[in-house]
Symmetry: C2
Amino acid sequence: MNEIRIFSPATVANVSCGFDVMGFCLDSVGDEMVIRKVERKGIHITRIEGFDLPYEAEKNVSGVSALAMYDAIDVDFGFEIEIYKKIKPGSGIGSSAASAVGSVFGMNELLGRPFNKTQLTEFAIKGEALASKCEHADNLAPAMFGGFALVKSVSPLVILEIPSPEDLYATIIHPQIEIKTAESRALLPKEVALQDATTQWANFGSLIHGLHTGDFEVIKNALHDVIVEPHRSKLIPYFNEVTKAAINAGALGSGISGSGPSIFSLSKGIENAINVKDAIEKVYAKTGIDFDIHVSKINSKGIKIIN
Amino acid sequence: MNEIRIFSPATVANVSCGFDVMGFCLDSVGDEMVIRKVERKGIHITRIEGFDLPYEAEKNVSGVSALAMYDAIDVDFGFEIEIYKKIKPGSGIGSSAASAVGSVFGMNELLGRPFNKTQLTEFAIKGEALASKCEHADNLAPAMFGGFALVKSVSPLVILEIPSPEDLYATIIHPQIEIKTAESRALLPKEVALQDATTQWANFGSLIHGLHTGDFEVIKNALHDVIVEPHRSKLIPYFNEVTKAAINAGALGSGISGSGPSIFSLSKGIENAINVKDAIEKVYAKTGIDFDIHVSKINSKGIKIIN
């Protein structure tokens, strides 16, 4: 096998109470990539469609993670990477993470899987860092492992796969506005009240318990963010209206996807998720702001080979 | 049935990363109480052994929780309470919680169980508040439900029962020193760094996952407290020596039990727990400070009727 085509999924990081440590994987949104073994040594990005991104491997998220992996192996051949980008960079649903895991996952498959998924994520962190200026894995881990992933720590990298109920669905709206990462970061409080922090870990522990037991009432009660959302939601137009409409339409909870501007909602069953989509569309249709909206099953497999 | 004898267990609150929201229940340490239906209306504490505590119901933790429950029922009889106190007040292993749950659990049994365990815990919160000056349930919940209990919120009271592996054991040392609650509270930071808070909920989420999956490596990696322990441990003599000795002897983790001065360790299997006990004894034997030390299985049942 000298060539492989893969689907590299979009992901939702933070998941309300799990700021910086939790993410889940989407099914219906993702990039496609082709990875090819070639005689010419090194990493070569030969095609990019969808968005305008650099071809130089050192300046491309996929390229940087691929180079990190290439440096760790000793081979007399190289790899070509084609990127069919469907996740808009800056949308807040793990666009860079999808690019970063895609190249290393594909190369690993072509090499006969010398690395496990945690090792691959370590390479991908290098690519992710190019985009986000810091080493984090809360989009990478769910893209690589699927389902809900808890990044217990980055150094050493410890990823825990959290089970989730079969009929959990996500609705994601991506308002077509740009939020500068620097602006979003600047809004993060450096210090938080101990009482709020305590509420947050009570919620996060409950979320883990609710996902394990498949108890939707527990999941619903856990999906609150008292730490980051009050600050960052200011950058997202009509955030409160969207989350209120989602909850009224039957969502378990709603929150900022990553650092935004996308907003995710979780629902029990696809019917609820579609009702939530309809309710959110109604809110946003009035605003004059362009948007994409998706309903997706939680993708329990993560990144995968396609034909 | 007009009289009941109960075992009301000691408990460990906080469990390192679960400050204010998590506790577990002990098997080998606890109070005994006798609750008796009598003609004379009201709540009457008729016997207290072990420690010197007030007989007036309004001034006694057991009495206050019993009165809270008594106010919620309409009966033409009363209750007598006998308390055989074995958990020293102020030891940090839920002495007041054991007293608070004991009376209401016993009364509920004699009444034919009109209340569920969460409702009983709501009454017990009133008694606990007398001792600790604030309404909290992280000792009450594990005493009432057994095992590991996560207090998701106090108002409304939501308690989640977290499963735990069969062969998990606790070692508890209680140095015979007094820590004033006010002093211990004063050491709590009002604000914490967002980065530390994030580490704490990553740990706490991991602990919940480790308990669900019975993965001792995950439990071990999760048992860290970067928020409260660095402050409160200063009040406990030889804290660092004890936790170091415990880890070296094979403990999964060690931390402050409640607000101290007791220190808990968790171990896989009773042999490890006994090794940990021996190692801690060696440390404390040299200090000249009196201490009690116990090894206990995690008590999965909680408070219970005895003959």
